[in-house]
């Protein structure tokens, strides 16, 4: 790869290709965006009814106090009360008199009554706001203070306070509480919290403890500020109706903010890559002195820079608008592996797809899969090791001002990064004249990509090692998804393990066997290997050896304490020896036994693969069963 050539290809991609968009298109798009802006302005200013207008029909007299309530709420349509209409189902709520209300029977009628109840509450609040005697109108004021609790719950794996909020919450006195800079979220800034705590200290009615000034780090981590009214420490303001609970899934918001733009980038990128394959257009670039690496790198670079640019812009916007003032380059660095993974998967998809229709569906699959990989682990913010599986957690941590250790950063970003690199490598194997312009189905193309890297028998070792990042990412994803099932216990074969662990072991067995044997099958299908029994067993052993060596990469999970969770411990079997075990047992358990296991199971699959597709499936099936049994035994024995 020569930088000069790479940059030239990149320049051509931007200027000559420019998304295939000409001036006329750009003008129309600009006009459309302006129109959208106008529409948005109209919608926001309240011109036009809301989405839930006229959903429920209420029959109420004008003399009834509820008539006013229902007329002010657009989701009700007010009619004259009519018993027959109610029974016919044309009315959902009917007031027979001021106090007699129809009893709800269907789900819709119950929902209408509930809606009327909450509508009455807001109507009352509005009425009270107009009252002269405000003390009687709003007799209760509330101050919300967020504080850490010390006890441990079953979900806490980090020993008390290891979770990196700088706010200690206990025993800090007034001045240091005010100086606690972690809360970028209070709209009034740090001084107000200090003043607020001091204010409540000076309040005659409150007890000494509030005066002790525990730092009110306004929901540190639980609220991206700006969302919902946040009560600060001012005793005078804040009625119960003003309380807005912290937004529970801020990672979902971030997922949309950072990941949705990537969808558009990969649409354009996939389109560009696929058009190289139509009508042999890509041949022109292939005959130039630029190497494959230059071409692929050059074509990818603009889109990568675009995605990173958008991520940086979003972070800057969040930082300088005050919503997340502690956002920094760390957040952008955490998004980098996700962007690369998106691009790499799309590149492979474009190399595999046969038409734009197919590419669209492949892109949708990629988006759904990678978005869930990014989003689901981040839900478990209480359980840091699981949450760190997704790089989005790093983004959340950075934006809410928590410090991130290098180990956590590495654990979160390295698996997706390596997977992206492997995907680029596999796709690049197909970027040549013999493969680019052929129309083979996607499964066959996958085998082509794998076989393209096979040069000799030693390739079995190399390929197993190369596919390790996929295995790691798949296993981490499985841990995150199956984590919730950890509490369901199950007595499988008398081993008394939880459902989550059994399922994870199953997934681990399947993923690892596929990783060890798929490239062997590809090699056989492309006649790269001899189909003799001796050769098959030898290849299996090599594949197992390669896998065993590279599997030590699973040691990365040590960086995140994933093993403190039972499910994490079971899945990363063999990554770390337990303490207090004699050396010979350690050597047996963690060196020889896994090596033997991998070699044997890979050999089984290999023997099946040399015969054909269905024999391969059978072989893999047997290997999975053997592997699963081994895992279950070891987990139960070590438990």
């Amino acid at each position: 790869m020569r930088p000069a050539k790479l940059l030239r290809v990149a320049k051509w991609e931007v200027t000559k290709n420019a998304g295939g968009v000409d001036k006329r298109t750009l003008v129309v798009m600009a006009l459309a965006v302006l129109a959208m802006g106008a529409v948005a302005a109209v919608a926001v200013s309240g011109g036009g009814p809301g989405l839930d207008a006229d959903i429920y029909r209420v029959g109420v007299d004008e003399s009834n106090p509820y008539h006013q309530v229902a007329s002010e709420d657009p989701s009700f349509r007010v009619q004259a009360p009519d018993r027959e209409a109610f029974e016919r189902g044309d009315q959902d709520l009917t007031f027979y008199s001021a106090n007699r209300l129809s009893r709800p029977q269907t789900e819709k009628q119950s929902a209408a009554l509930e809606a009327l109840r909450s509508s009455t509450e807001s109507y009352n609040d509005r009425t009270m706001a107009r009252a002269d005697n405000q003390t009687a109108a709003f007799p209760v004021t509330v101050t919300l203070v967020y504080q850490e609790q010390n006890g441990t719950s079953t979900l806490d794996t980090s020993t008390g306070g290891g979770d990196t909020t700088a706010d200690d919450g206990n025993g800090s006195d007034g001045p240091s509480a005010g100086g606690n800079g972690t809360d970028g979220q209070t709209s009034d800034g740090a001084t107000a919290t200090g003043g607020g705590s001091g204010g409540s200290a000076g309040d005659g009615g409150s007890d000494g403890n509030t005066g002790g000034g525990e730092a009110a780090a306004a929901g540190g981590g639980a609220n991206l500020g700006g969302i919902g009214a946040q009560l600060t420490g001012d005793v005078e303001s804040g009625t119960p109706g003003d309380i807005s609970p912290p937004f529970p899934f801020e990672s979902l918001v971030l997922a949309f903010l950072y990941i949705v733009p990537m969808n558009f980038v990969i649409q354009a990128y996939g389109s560009s890559m696929l058009s190289e394959r139509l009508n042999r257009r890509g041949e022109l670039l292939l005959v130039t002195p630029a190497s494959r690496g230059d071409i692929i790198g050059g074509k990818t670079l603009p889109y990568f820079l675009g995605a990173m640019g958008v991520a940086t812009a979003i972070t800057a916007l969040l930082r300088f608008s005050g919503i997340a003032p502690s956002g920094s380059l760390v957040a952008v660095a955490a998004v980098l592996p996700i962007a690369l993974l998106f691009l790499a998967a799309t590149f492979c998809g474009a190399m595999f797809a046969r038409s734009f229709k197919e590419l669209t569906f492949v892109t949708v699959t990629i988006t759904v899969t990678l978005t869930s990989y990014a989003f689901v682990p981040a839900i478990f913010t209480d359980v840091t090791p699981i949450a760190l599986i997704s790089p989005l957690t790093l983004v959340v941590m950075d934006l809410t001002g928590r410090s991130i250790s290098l180990g956590a950063f590495a654990f979160s970003t390295l698996p997706p990064l390596f997977t992206a690199l492997v995907l680029f490598g596999l796709g690049a194997g197909l970027y040549r004249e013999e493969d680019m312009f052929t129309q083979r189905s996607i499964p066959l193309k996958v085998l082509d990509a794998l076989a393209g890297r096979i040069k000799s028998r030693k390739s079995a070792l190399k390929m197993s090692a190369i596919l390790i990042p996929f295995v790691i990412v798949a296993e981490l994803g499985a841990i995150a998804f199956l984590f919730v099932l950890d509490s369901v216990s199950l007595n499988v074969f008398g081993t008394n393990q939880s459902l989550g662990i059994v399922l994870v072991l199953g997934v681990v067995a399947v993923v690892e066997e596929l990783g060890k044997s798929l490239h062997l099958y590809a090699g056989y299908a492309h006649a790269r290997y001899e189909r003799t029994l001796r050769s098959a067993i030898g290849l299996g052993a090599l594949s197992g050896l390669g896998f065993f060596l590279a599997e030590k990469g699973l040691l990365i999970v040590r960086l995140s304490d994933l093993e403190e969770l039972p499910i994490g411990d079971a899945a990363t079997l063999g990554a770390t020896p337990p303490a207090g075990v004699p050396l010979w047992a350690v050597a047996l358990l963690f060196l020889f036994a896994p090596l033997a296991l991998h070699a044997v199971t890979a050999a089984i699959s290999s023997v099946g693969a040399r015969r054909g597709r269905w024999a391969y499936v059978a072989g893999v099936g047997v290997a999975v069963v053997v592997h699963f049994a081994y895992n279950l035994t070891v987990v139960s024995a070590l438990a």
């Binding site: 005793v235 038409s355 209480d382």
Partner: protein, 349 residues
Amino acid sequence: MVARRDVRSLSREKTIVLALLIQLFVAGFSSFLVVGLTSLYDPGSVSAGEVEMAVTGDARDELLAAGAEHESAAMTEFNDSREAQLAFEERRVDALLNASYVESSDGPGRKISVTARIPEGSLRSTLIVVNVRRVLETLERQERFERADSLEEDPVPLPPQVSASPYFGFTYTVLIPLLLFLPAFISGSVAVDTITEEMERGTLELLRVAPVSLLDIVDGKALGMALLAPAQSLLWILLLSVNGIRVANVAVILLFVTAVAALVVTIGVVLGVATGKRRPAQLLYSVLTLVVFGAAVVLPEHPATTVAKLAVDSPTLSTYATVVGTLAVAILAYAAARKYVGSVDASAF
């Protein structure tokens, strides 16, 4: 004939099987999705176990009375505020409420000032805050009642509480319109793809060698895509009813979805023929459909509201008017599009 060929080619591509599987997966989890998405919309609707609250301060009797009305809140009285603090820190209680009387600055008399301590965290603290809010709102109501003499307008008494599905409104006003309109937009996108792909590959020439004109080709493709959308919407409706969500007025809804799909496919087809290249066509398609859908806000009734009202069985005159209006617009638009396509010189591709 062209329509049938296109639809059949779609079914042969294995990736559409994948897309359908994804849709099935999403549909199967629609209940889970409803709960998950609703918790964003309204965190209070996710029910939890009991929330333990410690109550201290001189106004604690009133607070206890308010809490007694709520089953999900378990109140424990503490005479010593330090003990209450300890209980909170050791996780024996979920929230610490300190209620005391203060002089009000807004008017005569005293107010009750409550300081609520909530644990930091994410999901748990949201649930706790929601429960605390409910208790405090009850307290506010009780206090207003006691001070009713000082108020000119009495607050309206609350209607009886009934156990209603909290997801009802969300399901019918947001989820169902989303699910039913999605196939229409996908159809339009695929329509753009099929036309521009034929042009970019040069296979349009081959199609035209058969005694079919460009207009016939476009007609066939548009028909295929426009009919696919209501079929998918029907599938969604069936899946929703299996999940216990009833949809009313199915026939009218499908007619409406067909009209919207026809309109959107017309836009796609015109863009495809006008630009002749996939990327600008797709880009313009996405932007224009967004604008059109957004601009529908200025209509007396938004199409999403139309679907919601039909599905929940509260149709009004404006609902039917919207359906008929959209149908009319779709027919006119398609007629205009046919005229345009007929005037295009097909040998240019």
